[in-house]
Each structure stands twice: as structure tokens, then as C-alpha cells.
Symmetry: C2
Subunit: 196 residues, 2 copies
């Protein structure tokens, strides 16, 4: 097992591209070698087996998907109102569109996790943290809406992104924009927050 960390990271990032392009079953050592433009056999030397490769990719993918510190800090600035929140959600969609292979790879990982308990544990932990963080930031921001609002928004936007990536002709760009606006507005402003 070789230990060069740059090379390992390059292999993992190559694996993300392979995942998005070829699907989970297409994520082989040889495909990673080819994608990373390293000699055949290299990935074999860096990961104990395919399960290990999947798990390491699962640990990495979220780092690439989340905004970097600068972007994140910028999103905390300015007036914290609904219009600003809506704007941030549009930015979120744009950011993901710019790294669509990452999002597709995450979807492949999710499906693969039905077969790999270790991978499932990694993903569950990461996504749980992400949701909790979003709920926390929202609470701090003083915006209207409760934790349920944030989770519902998370659900709706995720599927909207999935639609756009897998079936781009289903909704027009205009419809997507309107759906994002409506999602923020309606999730954040429940008529009555208690049970009806």
C-alpha cells in the first residue's frame, strides 16, 4: 500500500469523474488509472479493494461539493432576509450545475450504498452533519421558518437538481427559477406551523 497523499487525492478525484460518467459498477481500478492518467495497477496499490475505494470517495465527495470558505463567508454577509435567502439558493443551484459530475457521483454513491454498509455509514454521517449545519445556520440567521422548513427546502431543491441533471428537458429554466422562488417562500412561511 503506497502512501503519496497527492497521488491518492488525484486518484480519488479521478474516481469521482469515473463514477459520474460510468456509474458505480464502472468504478474499477483500471478505469481510475486511466482517468488519472497513471500506469495501470496504480490504483491497486493505493486502495485495499473496491470497497475501500468507494468509502474513501464517499469521504471526499462532500468536500468538493460544499462551498469553499470564501464563498461560505460571503453567503453570511449582507441583509438576512427572504430575498437574500432565495438568491443564495439560486447560487447553490448554479454552483452544483458547474460541478455536475460531483453531484452525479454522489447519486451513484447513494445507490451503491444500498450494497455497501461502510459507504452507507460514511454518507449518512456526512449528510446528517450537512443538514444539521444548515438548520443551525438558519436558526442563527433569524430568518422566518423552523428546522422543518429547512429540511423541506433541502428535500425539494435536491430533487429539483436531480431532475435538472438527469432529465434536463422536464422543466424549463424559467420553471426551475420559479420553483426555487416558490420553494423558499412557501417553506419559510407556513400558514400555521403547528398541526392543522
Amino acid at each position: 500500500m503506497r502512501r503519496n497523499p497527492e497521488r491518492r487525492l488525484a486518484l480519488i478525484d479521478a474516481a469521482i469523474e469515473v463514477l459520474a460518467r460510468e456509474g458505480a459498477r464502472g468504478l474499477t481500478f483500471r478505469a481510475v488509472d486511466a482517468e488519472a492518467a497513471v500506469p495501470p495497477g496504480t490504483a491497486s496499490n493505493y486502495f485495499a479493494n473496491r470497497d475501500d475505494l468507494f468509502t474513501q470517495v464517499g469521504g471526499r465527495i462532500y468536500e468538493r461539493l460544499l462551498p469553499d470558505e470564501a464563498t461560505f463567508a460571503r453567503s453570511r454577509e449582507g441583509v438576512q432576509d427572504e430575498a437574500r435567502y432565495t438568491e443564495l439558493m439560486h447560487e447553490l443551484l448554479a454552483r452544483i450545475a458547474a460541478f455536475d459530475t460531483g453531484y452525479l457521483a454522489l447519486l451513484e454513491l447513494r445507490l451503491e450504498s444500498t450494497r455497501r454498509p461502510e459507504l452507507r455509514a460514511v454518507l449518512t454521517k456526512r449528510i446528517r452533519e450537512d443538514i444539521d449545519a444548515n438548520v443551525g445556520y438558519h436558526a442563527e440567521s433569524g430568518l422566518p421558518g423552523d428546522p422543518t422548513s429547512v429540511v423541506l427546502l433541502y428535500l425539494a431543491l435536491n430533487w429539483l437538481i436531480l431532475e435538472r441533471l438527469t432529465l434536463p428537458d422536464l422543466f424549463t429554466e424559467e420553471e426551475v427559477r420559479e420553483l426555487v422562488d416558490a420553494a423558499v417562500q412557501r417553506m419559510m412561511n407556513p400558514r400555521g406551523t403547528g398541526r392543522g
Copy 2:
């Protein structure tokens, strides 16, 4: 190319199981043969190539996923109010949980459709029809909420189902139930339906 329709259907349904279990890249003629318990080579004789197989599965999957006529008729009965609507959504989730391989197969097909234009066209058409039908039924029912409500609910519930199938430990059963309740309530009752 052989034409026995029962056998073809059995092969397609076997393909759905294979898709859910092995993923899109694992959907090979041989795997279908094995799943359908027919001799190797049979699927080769029923489908021109893998692309054809994917397309035919894409045409079939929605028939298996949608409720049958009886269930559908029953859902139209009774009081058409928000409580009833919420109940229907819980039933929807239960129905999908009982045929989770079908839903997983559809997800695999969606991801595969990024590589197969024909399949993408089939899925886009089917899903477009499904959304339009839901919007239509909702309009007829006289329930509060507009087409956007229905689409937002569709988005949120789909991702919730995906979470439950791929990462079952992310939300507890109780949380899922509350999210369904909240989703129906908040989507259907926007504070102000107009902009701003």
C-alpha cells in the same frame, strides 16, 4: 428476434430487479437470463442490444410503479380535504416502500439516461405525463393550492423517498411522518401565492 410476449414481459420485470440490485452497468443479458431463470442467450434473442433493453424497461417501469386502477379509484373517494390528501401521501410512501426495487430501478434508469438519449426521451415523457396528471387531479379535486404546490410536493416527497431507500438511518420513521405532514400542509397553504 423472438416474440413471445409473456416471456418478454418476464424478462423486462427480471431486468427491473437486476437494475435495483446490480445497478445499471450490471444490467447485462446474462444477468437478466439468470434473474428470469431462463437459459443463457434468451435475452439476446429478445432485445436487439442493451440500449433496446434499457428503453423497454424505461417504458415498463412506470406501469409497475403507479397504483393500479382499483387503488387509484379508491383514492378519489371520500372527503377531499387536506387530511385526506395527507393520508394519500402516506399511502404513496407505503406503496413505494413495498416495491422499493422498482423505485431504485427507476433511479438507476435516470442516471443511465445521462448516457442514453433514447432512454432519456422515454423517461422524460413518462414523468412529464405523471406530473401533469397529478396537477390535473389536484385542480379537479378543489383542494387548496395551485400547480406549483403539487410540483413542490412532488419534489420534496421524491427526495424523501430517496433518502429513506438509500440512507434509511438518516431520518427516523417518526421524522419521515412529520415531514410528510408538514410538506402537505406548507405546500398547500402558501401565505401569499403571488410573488414577494
